[in-house]
Subunit: 416 residues, 2 copies
């Protein structure tokens, strides 16, 4: 069984909006066991939309459209479907009530043009929109299905997951696809590839894909099976192999982020932390505090951008700064120890480096970063060299610092 | 003259990668005066790719493909083009030398499979890849043109802008399209819309579009003309109207960000700044320090996440904290004054609030944020109420703080 996604909207063809719906729908359809062979995007043009749908119906079992369901005359999806299926548009009172209730809840007067959204092709199945006004639509076309969904991501995502996915799963004939993503940091893509090359060549029903981002490499295991249990067991077998090969480089699974894994580990061990940042300028603290509940472990942070601030706020010695420079291991160590001391935390972490694009020298090039982690028992120092833009270097430095904290939590040498 | 974009890659159909190339190419083609009516995505499948190209050639003057130029057997674009144009693949020694040089510069041994990238259809025009190994390709097909570009955004963007855009502009018959984006903050989309509604209805050759993001609304003026001068004059006319209506809400143009506008304004006025953040957890400092050259105005920052830190690091009085709570105007004022004092800067800015999702009460709900700005002459305090997720509330708070700094720079009451 295969499917095709048609995205509708002139804003997509003008490049004003990036098409995230196509990738969202593709991922969900793949997980439901449905192959996707084509994405098509057309503007708010009835002739080109009709042609695209007819072409899709000729080669795909399920055609999913997104967009063109709004209240303006530019929104043409409903009319095109009515003409294609030979049905007339009729007012649906339940939908109209829903649209009116929506505006009432927003304390906004009902805009007359929104009445258009309550007209749907006679007799067609429709799906309630719980966060907006445009209903979804499900049409049969011979043995094919056309599913029309709204364009805004905040509307299409919940509608698809709640109301469409169960229908799709039934159509896919009970094939179950399960996936698990294993997230790593600290190794380059080629290094991860080298450790799991045999697994990357696995053929269906169980496959492994590799996906590299800045400072992170993910492995996604996908398993197709008749039952959820069988798919789960097949994933577990491959996961066991990956875990034994990548061990400490694995920081989390699926929706985990490195910062959420670090905050979880700190809370679990009952450890508190404070930060002293120079070149990352607050990024490390910002990432830690993006995690809900981080106030349980994150106490405070200092951003000491200039040398004077390093002396005044953290008491880094003038002599160390003069002798070694602000970007040096001794300064990083003094910063980490000082913030740990002043903030009265279990861990103090510091970052000092050159984010660029200017400020580098031959001995201390752009991308040179020192990261220090101080506890009651020891102080670890790392020298790293990163490449990329200013923001990329900042990000990689924060990534390495988070990974150092994670390693420390697992080192098990603390009071707990 | 119209164009069509074909994106190639099974990873796109699986939803593993978001298709940013299609929107990038669309935007650039529109600016060059070329209409785009279709986007199509197919996997690494020669039959479906061939069909997609033939269909595109039937309805579009220029077909631009991205992807499928890599060194592996999955990369099929070159072979499909060779077959379509009836040419055989021949080794191009210049390309081969470029590919070998690339690996030499990376200090990586030449992978034998990469020799495939030096085979191109005999006699076709090719384009050097300055950041990767896959060359671009330009084929004629009757009166149509097929332009094949690499898939990675970091390769396609510079190749398109440097080598393809001049060709496209020549094809578009000398029509010039210019655009200027005016960026605002501090007003909701509906408020900006209300002020420029007549301009949003302008018809070509000069049009205005409105684009809302979190905490920011942009207006993009586009003008089509025979000469660059005429397009520029038409943009200037509309820009003048927009400026007179949106005045102080405009923070910048085109590639400006709010943080870059703030850093520019601070440096221009010779003002220094330090931050004291609670609920934003370092985001404000991070955004300021993302701007290259920010060390000229940004001195230091403190993140005081817990009450004790507010007392210890900033000397916020225990009494104020107890009487008004950490999220209150008096605490924000004490924080801003204290960081200004300790960091010896012209401006001290503070943020304290409830980012959620937990921690809200009826009197102090999630999204309540106080922002204070202290100078030698005065202290301004703002109470704001934001909606959204934890990260959205943090972002909007940092956006409001940046806007307050910008207003202060323009208030002209400083020593300079």
């Amino acid at each position: 069984m295969n499917s095709e996604i048609i995205s509708i909207g002139t804003e997509l063809l003008l490049g004003h909006v990036i098409n995230t719906n196509a990738s969202f729908l593709s991922e969900k359809l793949a997980e439901a066991g449905i192959d996707v062979y084509h994405h098509t995007t057309v503007g708010d043009n009835p002739v080109r939309l009709t042609a695209a749908i007819i072409r899709a119906l000729g080669r795909s079992d399920i055609v999913v459209t997104s967009g063109g369901l709004g209240p303006t005359v530019d929104d043409i999806t409903i009319e095109v479907i009515a003409r294609l299926t030979g049905r007339k548009l009729v007012l649906n009172k339940t939908i109209l009530k829903g649209v009116k209730d929506y505006f009432r809840s927003k304390k906004v007067p009902f805009p007359e043009e929104s009445i258009r959204q309550a007209y749907i092709p006679e007799g067609l199945k429709w799906v309630r929109n719980r966060v907006g006004t445009a209903p979804g639509l499900i049409a049969e076309y011979g043995t094919r299905k056309i599913i029309c969904l709204p364009g805004p991501p905040r509307e299409i995502v919940p509608m698809f997951e709640r109301d469409i996915l169960p229908i799709i799963k039934k159509l896919s004939g009970g094939i179950i696809i399960k996936s698990k993503t294993i997230k790593t940091t600290g190794l380059a893509e080629s290094q991860v590839d080298g450790k799991v090359r045999d697994l990357l060549k696995l053929k269906p029903p169980t496959t492994v894909g590799i996906y590299a981002k800045l400072g992170q490499v993910d492995l996604k295991i996908m398993a197709k099976a008749k039952t959820s249990g069988e798919a789960g067991r097949n994933i577990a077998k491959v996961e066991k192999k990956i875990r034994s090969r990548l061990k400490k480089y694995i920081f989390g699974y699926d929706t985990d982020t490195l910062e959420s894994a670090v905050v979880d580990a700190l809370i679990k061990k009952g450890l508190t932390i404070a930060t002293a940042e120079s070149c990352t300028g607050g990024l490390l603290s910002n990432r830690l505090t993006n995690v809900s509940g981080s106030s349980k472990c994150f106490k405070s942070g200092i951003i000491v951008y200039e040398n004077e601030a390093k002396e005044n706020f953290l008491g880094v010695s003038h002599k160390t700064l003069k002798l070694h420079g602000a970007v040096s291991a001794p300064v990083a160590i003094e910063m980490a120890s000082a913030i740990k001391h002043y903030a009265c935390t279990d861990i103090g972490i510091s970052i000092t480096g050159i984010a660029g694009p200017t400020g580098g020298t031959r001995k201390k090039p752009v991308g040179l970063v020192y990261i220090a982690l101080a506890t009651d028992k020891r102080c670890i120092i790392k020298e790293m060299r990163f490449r990329g833009s200013r923001e990329e270097i900042k990000f990689q430095a924060s990534q390495a610092a988070l990974n150092l904290i994670r390693a420390e939590c697992h080192a098990n040498i603390h009071r707990n």
